[in-house]
């Protein structure tokens, strides 16, 4: 659907960064070299949980090219603990290590290879401690504590206080309840209960973590591949006791994020290396090291759903156990989101959800595209298909019956649903069923709803120059999602200029105004709106200037494209500026600050819904599943850039394909055994289905510019569940653990019961009745 009134937005214009990227000229952090720059490499812990008895650095300092070595005992004078939610993360291990792979020492040398080769000359003596490697052992009575101390909360912790300000291995607990779930289940006509496992996964980005820090008398400048530069700035300012204006974060193009580069990662450590050596220092990790830096929270979910005789959902109850790893990172917020998102886009009168994020001696978990939603959509959407079979009705019809309508509340206290999911579902079903189902194939649909957008604080500045060109100065980071292009489009649309006349300046915290983050699918909605409002602010100023120059009332001026009309003469913005200032090249600044107020007061800013359909073929001899067909609906209000909105959906669904069929980080004991791209399997082009339909629902029902709202996660969330449901529809094999590897599918087909890791059942206690917190 095209919306005729637009000249630039809603058109798939060439990407702002397209030519630079396809010609290899785009600058990423790893391309940057500063004068006098040294290189750091990290020595990592070989054990999961241990006291550090001693670190001997005498030998390493004698190695060729080595400038300095930094250990946990060299951090006097700074506050080494960071974390936007919980300040539990030391920038290097201090006194003890909490996961295998944790950085214990940083060697700084004249070149990267010398730093790397010198690492083995650092002598570390450990005293091993019993490790807790899974949620069950972390919650067991008398379990070893990862953190013997309690911590301060961080400044960007969200709306819940983390539990890790209290002793214990529970990092966060969330309780959500309305109605009377217990009573609903007692009287329900149909109820179904089950347990599901969503695996540990790595959000693979082509560019691993990389930072350059330059600590000098003027302050600290850091170049980093960071999604959220302003939150990194906050952590760095606190660590080094610097004023915000002394910490400068510069983010060039980011080579993929998917949540893995949200919040602070290696920046404090890189900065500490520079702080110690007073040299600019670059730290770049390999993919293998990146896999030891962040992952998603793997999740064990016990869920039950109840329906009445007519198939109306009457209750949902869930206990979600998130394996958060050694440090809180963003898991306290993931826990909140997982609890909110297990409900889905359905009308459910009785709900009780408990979610726990639990510390273990494994790689710290944090944001991952979907942000808790993938973990909980898999169990719920699987269970809806199971319930449909119990009720003897079609899974599509069961969903349709229970989907909330636009304007209806799905979560008490949050914004009512702002999407037409029934309409989306019809689009998917129509596309999916346009031909008979081949023998041996299975089909399924899935839905999800995520409270998205995070906090709406975003600000933007628009410069209008004396030659009529425009600069948009804003803090959204360009990580491939296309936000630079979207902002350029909005400014060109509003200012009435050709898109080539608009330049995007981002992101440098010394120049660009505050933006909370680039994540939670928020940039088009929040920053897009800030850019639009900044343009309108500039236009209002220009109109007053024109009135001043023309000695008339602003009300007598008629707004036109790229200027105003007065007495039948068109004045371009540059004409107004020239007349007003009397000099060439003068410019004005339009600005906008968004915050949680007015129509942005109610959260979430928007519901990011997902609605997908898949068709799979199953080799029943080997258990191998192949995705034959994929249908996504980008319910984005208005696609500012339709091709990029579709690209987001294809990318998101492809991640869903990976999580559904291939991806799982595997621990054997303390050791992550497949933390490399040979053994950890991300989807390849050959895995993509032969037929893909990327549909857009443009109902202009978002709170962003022109009725737009965010996309990019929605088409990920239901895909793993849809794959499991399509497998069931093809073979009657139900698998409740992802990924759906051939062996697991074969096991289900041949009646071998796939074990769930550390099953709830093993303790013999039903989690709903057990107070895990005690």
């Amino acid at each position: 659907m095209k919306h005729g009134e637009f000249r630039v937005v809603n058109h798939s214009v060439p990407r702002e960064d397209g030519v630079a990227k396809v010609t290899g000229r785009a600058v990423f952090t790893s391309d940057i070299r500063l004068d006098g720059m040294a290189y750091a490499k990290l020595l990592r812990s070989p054990v999961a949980h241990a006291r550090i008895l001693s670190v001997d650095t005498r030998e390493v300092l004698r190695q060729p090219g080595v400038i300095a070595v930094l250990t946990g005992s060299d951090l006097h004078g700074i506050d080494p603990y960071y974390g936007h939610a919980v300040k539990d993360h030391p920038l290097l291990a201090i006194g003890k290590v909490r996961f295998l792979g944790e950085p214990v020492a940083a060697v700084v040398a004249e070149d990267e290879r010398s730093a790397y080769e010198a690492l083995e000359s650092v002598g570390v003596e450990y005293e091993e401690l019993p490790a807790v490697l899974d949620v069950d052992s972390a919650l067991a009575d008398g379990a070893p504590l990862l953190h013997e101390m309690t911590y301060r909360t961080g400044g960007f912790r969200g709306f819940d206080d983390p539990a890790s300000t209290q002793p214990g291995n529970i990092c966060q607990r969330i309780h959500l309840e309305w109605g009377d779930a217990g009573a609903a289940f007692t009287s329900a006509a149909h109820a179904i209960e089950g347990e599901f496992f969503f695996p540990m996964a790595y959000a693979y980005a082509m560019e691993p973590y990389v930072s350059i820090a330059d600590y000098n008398d003027a302050g600290l400048t850091v170049y980093s591949s960071a999604q959220h530069p302003f939150i990194v700035r906050n952590d760095l300012a606190k660590v080094f006791g610097l004023a915000l204006n002394r910490v400068r974060l510069i983010v060039p193009f980011v080579g993929g994020g998917y949540g893995s580069k949200s919040y602070t990662k290696i920046e404090p450590l890189t900065a500490a290396c520079s702080w110690k050596t007073r040299r600019p220092v670059k730290l770049q990790l390999s993919v293998e090291e990146a896999m030891l830096t962040t992952r998603n929270d793997d999740a064990r979910v016990r869920i039950r759903m109840a329906a009445d005789r007519e198939g109306r959902f009457v209750g949902l109850q869930a206990t979600i156990l998130l394996n958060t790893g050694a440090y809180a990172e963003n898991s306290p917020l993931v826990a909140r989101r997982a609890a909110n998102r297990v409900i889905g886009p359905y009308r459910i009168p009785n709900v009780k959800v408990d979610c726990y994020a639990v510390y273990t001696n494994t790689v710290p978990a944090s944001s991952f595209r979907g942000f808790g939603a993938t973990q909980v959509t898999f169990p719920r959407e699987s269970q809806i298909d199971e319930l449909a079979e119990r009720l003897g009705c079609d899974p599509v019809e069961l969903r349709r019956k229970n989907l909330a309508a636009r304007g209806e509340s799905i979560h008490s206290g949050l914004r009512p649903l702002d999407a037409d999911l029934s309409g989306d579902l019809s689009m998917v079903v129509e596309a999916l069923t346009d031909r008979p189902l081949p023998k041996g194939h299975g089909r399924a649909v899935g839905c999800s709803a995520s409270d998205a957008g995070s906090d709406p604080v975003s600000s933007a500045v628009v410069h209008v120059y004396g030659d009529g060109s425009i600069s948009v100065v804003m803090g959204s980071t360009e990580m491939g999602q296309g936000s630079h292009t979207v902002m350029q489009q909005i400014a060109a649309e509003e200012m009435g200029v050709a898109i080539e006349r608009v330049r995007v300046v981002s992101c440098d915290t010394a120049i660009t105004p505050f933006d909370r983050s680039t994540g939670a699918s928020r940039s088009t909605t929040t920053m897009g709106r800030a850019v639009l409002e900044a343009c309108q602010d500039a236009i209002a100023q220009l109109r007053n200037m024109a009135a001043d120059v023309l000695k008339t009332n602003p009300g007598n001026l008629v707004l036109e494209r790229d200027g105003i009309a007065f007495q039948k003469r068109h004045w371009r913005w540059q004409d107004v500026l020239g007349e007003f200032f009397g000099l060439p090249d003068c410019s004005i600044i339009g600005r906008a600050y968004l915050r949680k107020a007015g129509d942005l007061a109610l959260l979430p800013l928007f519901w990011e819904v997902g609605c997908t359909g898949v068709e799979v073929a199953v080799d029943t001899e080997t258990g191998k599943i192949h995705l034959e067909r994929l249908i996504t609906v980008g319910d984005v209000g208005l696609a500012i850039h339709p091709a990029m909105a579709e690209g987001q959906d294809l990318g998101a669904a492809t991640m869903g394909l990976g999580l559904g069929l291939y991806e799982e980080l595997v621990y054997e004991g303390q050791q992550l055994v497949n933390g490399n791209l040979l053994d950890y399997r991300v989807p390849r082009f050959s895995d993509l289905p032969p037929q893909v339909d990327l549909l857009l629902a443009e109902n202009r029902d978002g709170i962003g510019p022109y009725g737009a709202k965010g996309g990019g996660e929605g088409s990920l969330n239901p895909v793993p569940a849809s794959l499991a449901n399509a497998l069931y529809s093809a073979t009657r094999a139900r698998v409740r653990r992802l990924p759906l590897t051939p062996e697991r599918v074969w096991g289900a087909l041949t009646g071998r019961t796939p074990e769930l890791p550390n099953s709830f059942g093993s303790s013999g206690v039903r989690p709903q009745e057990k107070d895990i917190g005690r």
């Binding site: 790893s30 490499k41 990267e112 290879r113 790397y116 080769e117 691993p208 770049q284 390999s286 993919v287 293998e288 001899e621 080997t622 191998k624 291939y662 595997v666 055994v673 497949n674 490399n676 791209l677 040979l678 053994d679 399997r681 590897t741 051939p742 062996e743 074969w746 096991g747």
Partner: protein
């Protein structure tokens, strides 16, 4: 970016010089014939060498030719050149088809057959097929030249029976007569295959009896493995063989020392051998 430790590269001008260099540097050196596995292992710091002897530069060592009824593939022929060889496509198509399934096109462009076999990675595709093609390898060392049958070549995972400082110069495959039917099938989810299975059957003139059979399975055990018991079960009249396939698969699985690993459980691998022996059988006899 994974870093390599510092090393020196040496470029011999002939095989004798390469052997000499190997003897000179001893355990500090490795032959380097493509590096798709060696350099990866070095980047992971699993292997460390101060010296690499680049045998790819030795002239003529990459030749693919037919000599006295034998296909002779030079040790540094790349997978890609084998895949695209007109000679092999017409005379030994099962080999080119197998090569076209090796890893990905970048690896095939760089990796060499000799390098693949000498690295002795348990997931090697060529090794499994060469076992049933009755291949042997030509080697040269300080003591002179000799031949090693593929059946005797692997000593264990990442281990061959090459003597210290010996170097593989060619792979020799006897040209099968027109009565041989063969197939290579593989099953793959991860980057490395989970199973490779090669089958070669010699038929009688009427095509109704198999007078000889060779079968090998790779990836599922420390080394690719043939099984005499399975081969004997696959020899005889066709209907009997079709009935015997499950038994032959069991025999093959028994000989393979199946292990549980990240790729799958031993039980599942046993099942896959059953499935893929049948598929290889069907494929080998396609059109005959």
């Amino acid at each position: 970016m994974m870093l390599l430790r510092r090393f020196e590269i040496h470029q011999p001008s002939n095989v004798a010089e390469a052997v000499q260099m190997g003897a000179h540097f001893g355990e500090q050196a490795s032959l380097y014939a493509g590096g798709t596995e060696l350099l990866l292992a070095m980047k992971h710091d699993v292997l460390r060498y101060k010296h690499l002897i680049d045998v790819k530069v030795i002239p003529g060592l990459e030749a693919i030719e037919l000599r006295d009824g034998m296909i002779r593939v030079g040790a540094t022929a790349t997978h890609r050149s084998i895949e695209r060889s007109a000679l092999l496509r017409s005379r030994l198509p099962v080999f080119t088809k197998m090569e076209s399934l090796v890893a990905n096109v970048r690896v095939r462009n760089t990796g060499t057959l000799g390098g693949n076999l000498c690295f002795a990675e348990p997931h090697s595709d060529p090794a499994t097929l060469l076992l049933v093609l009755g291949a042997s390898v030509a080697v040269e060392g300080p003591q002179g030249r000799r031949e090693i049958l593929m059946d005797d070549f692997f000593a264990g995972p990442y281990e061959t029976r090459l003597a210290p400082n010996e170097m593989m110069t060619a792979i020799q495959i006897p040209l099968p007569s027109g009565r041989w039917r063969s197939a290579y099938v593989k099953f793959q989810v991860h980057e490395r295959p989970m199973l490779g299975l090669a089958l070669a059957l010699e038929t009688t003139e009427d095509g109704e009896t198999f007078s000889r059979a060779r079968v090998a399975v790779g990836c599922v055990s420390p080394c690719p493995q043939r099984s005499a018991a399975a081969e004997s079960l696959l020899t005889g009249p066709r209907p009997e063989i079709e009935r015997n396939l499950p038994l032959a698969a069991e025999a093959l699985a028994d000989s393979a020392e199946l292990i549980d690993d990240q790729q799958g459980s031993a039980e599942y691998k046993r099942h896959l051998i059953r499935v893929f022996l049948r598929r290889a059988f069907v494929k080998a006899l396609e059109g005959s």
